[in-house]
């Protein structure tokens, strides 16, 4: 019996573990190793160079520019996405006060709103990026021609070609494609908050804004925190939007260069795989720091209900 059990365990685990070790674990480990080499990625010979790549990285202007853009992405995209997600979810669930004699209720048709808001979430980020590349097109794109149509042609821009605007255009797309997910996620969380909490607060004379900050947000905090980490990882990546939407490599005057895309160009355009993996390791470090900060900031007393 015992013998049979271990054979069964080994039989069931062997394939998934091997596959995972070969294609996921080993590349991650190798990446750290290669970051200490002068590997070009083209030939199989390379030598160890110690911390030379890391030293190069510290003095590479483009890398710091990419880090700067990633930090902006990391601060703006999750903040706006989660903020809008919370706002819409709150309106959908608590916004329609006074219906059916209930003290709090969702607005009518909240199910339909959720279905529509979720559309972008099921589309590939590659397809979304392409769609908006067309939408931002200065000549026949939806935005400029819309502005023209309503007489606001002075607001027309060379959206993605303008170094001052390009990064913001990408951020708008990232927000656009992710808000619906958080509306649905937060709605699910809000609908499980007992109604009498709101009713008690209303009796005490709290207004809607107060109930949001005193009841909804604290009770939803765990979900918000998880969402923040998810959104942060998406914001740190940004590979597809940068590669597809802005002229390369890295946008007009490197204005949309990000770490993820820099890794890609260093390997496949510049033939500097060693340096590329160094950037990747730096990216990993930033990700970990970010995750630690979010978890630390979020550590507060758990509210049970």
């Amino acid at each position: 019996m015992q013998h049979g059990k271990y054979r069964f365990i080994a039989g069931f685990l062997a394939l998934p573990v091997i596959l995972y070790a070969v294609f996921v674990i080993s590349p991650f480990v190798q990446a750290v190793y290669y970051s200490f080499t002068d590997w070009t990625g083209l030939s199989s010979d390379f030598k160890m160079v110690g911390f030379k790549n890391y030293d190069w990285l510290l003095h590479d202007d483009l890398f710091w520019k990419a880090v700067g853009h990633n930090v902006v992405l990391l601060l703006v995209v999750p903040l706006v996405t989660l903020g809008l997600g919370l706002f819409f979810a709150f309106m959908l669930n608590v916004g329609g006060r006074g219906r059916k004699n209930a003290a709090v209720s969702g607005v009518r048709g909240s199910g339909l709103y959720k279905v529509i808001y979720f559309f972008p979430q099921v589309l590939s980020i590659a397809i979304v990026a392409l769609l908006f590349q067309f939408t931002y097109n200065p000549r026949n794109g939806a935005i400029n021609s819309f502005l023209d149509g309503v007489g606001l042609d002075s607001l027309q821009q060379q959206w993605l070609a303008d170094p001052k605007l390009a990064l913001w255009c990408l951020m708008a797309v990232m927000v656009w494609s992710n808000v619906g997910f958080y509306v649905v996620l937060f709605s699910a969380g809000m609908s499980s908050i007992p109604r009498d909490f709101y009713e008690a607060a209303l009796l005490d004379g709290a207004n809607r804004i107060k109930t949001f900050f005193k009841i909804t947000l604290p009770l939803l905090w765990d979900t918000v925190q998880t969402g923040w980490i998810y959104m942060g990882i998406i914001a740190l990546d940004a590979f597809a939007v940068v590669q597809i939407m802005t002229v390369g490599p890295g946008g007009p005057a490197d204005s949309t260069q990000v770490m993820g895309y820099y890794v890609y160009t260093k390997t496949f355009h510049d033939g500097q795989a060693g340096r590329a993996t160094t950037i990747g390791v730096a990216m990993l470090i930033v990700t970990l720091i970010f995750a630690v900060i979010v978890t630390r900031l979020g550590r507060r007393e758990r509210l049970e209900y």
Partner: protein, 277 residues
């Protein structure tokens, strides 16, 4: 309904409708553009198409190879999804219900993969694949899709298998069923709701994957939908065949949007199940 409620309702709906329009208008604009002639796309970008030029769609499907990209994607995602679900549920079942040395290590090895940036692994992975002659092959791409879907699948299904009652499995074992048989005939059917949630999550993730095929699959004939469309856009914009490009984009969007509208409840639940933990 008091007047305060009424005003608030109007205000709420107003804002909600604005975001609804922001979400749908770009999609509608793309659909309209896909039915116009190139000239119309330039002269009246927001106008309705004069006639419905479905010939754009057929041109995109056959001449711009969208049809081939579709078939490639269906093949790759179909095989990957089956492999992911099978291997993922096998590993999760063991990790959830058996005690053995090294169990915690294996579990955290899988789950740890969820938090690392894939791009970091991508460069060495490219060369791992190259050495194994797996670059630019469907089976190589399938294996990679499966491997990178395992962390979440194992994580989600392990906690799911833990919630299932163990009495049923024990009864089956006492009746003389082997472990393997118990798994396939008793446990998997019981785990169906969890399998559906994680299956939807993986299906969309793999169908929408862009970075992995872009780096690991550069053979023109083997492109999947997302990368094929992006590469098509890069080449077609110079040729100026915008209507076919829009048609390709719409053709790529319609199936997932259709599936989503049909199964929106399950899709929303499946995708958000990942974040709720």
């Amino acid at each position: 309904m008091g007047s305060e409620g009424k005003i608030l309702n109007v205000f709420s709906h107003g804002i909600l409708v604005v975001w609804g329009l922001l979400v749908t208008l770009p999609l509608l604009w793309a659909v309209m553009s896909s039915l116009k002639t190139d000239k119309q796309i330039f002269t009246s970008p927001w106008g309705l198409p004069s006639a419905l030029h479905f010939d754009n769609w057929s041109r995109a499907w056959s001449k711009s190879n969208i049809g081939d990209f579709f078939l490639n994607t269906i093949l790759v995602v179909g095989c990957s999804l089956i492999g992911t679900m099978l291997l993922g549920s096998m590993a999760a079942y063991i990790l959830a219900r058996f005690e053995f040395p090294g169990k915690r290590f294996i579990y955290f090895m899988f789950v740890g993969g969820m938090s690392f940036p894939i791009i970091l692994a991508l460069v060495p992975l490219f060369f791992v694949m190259k050495n194994m002659s797996l670059l630019n092959t469907f089976h190589g791409l399938i294996l990679v899709y499966i491997a990178y879907s395992l962390p979440f699948t194992v994580f989600f299904l392990t906690s799911f298998f833990k919630t299932l009652p163990s009495s049923v499995a024990e009864a089956a074992l006492i009746d003389g069923a082997s472990h393997t048989r118990t798994f396939f005939q008793v446990m998997l059917p019981m785990a169906k709701p969890g399998l559906i949630s994680v299956g939807i999550f993986n299906f969309l993730g793999q169908w929408n994957q862009y970075m992995l095929p872009t780096v690991l699959n550069t053979d023109e004939d083997k492109r999947v939908l997302t990368q094929g469309l992006v590469q098509l856009a890069a080449s077609q914009q110079y040729k100026g065949d915008w209507s076919a490009l829009f048609a390709g984009l719409v053709l790529a969007m319609l199936p997932v949007l259709g599936v989503y509208i049909l199964f929106q409840r399950q899709v929303q639940a499946g995708l958000t199940a990942g974040a709720l933990k």
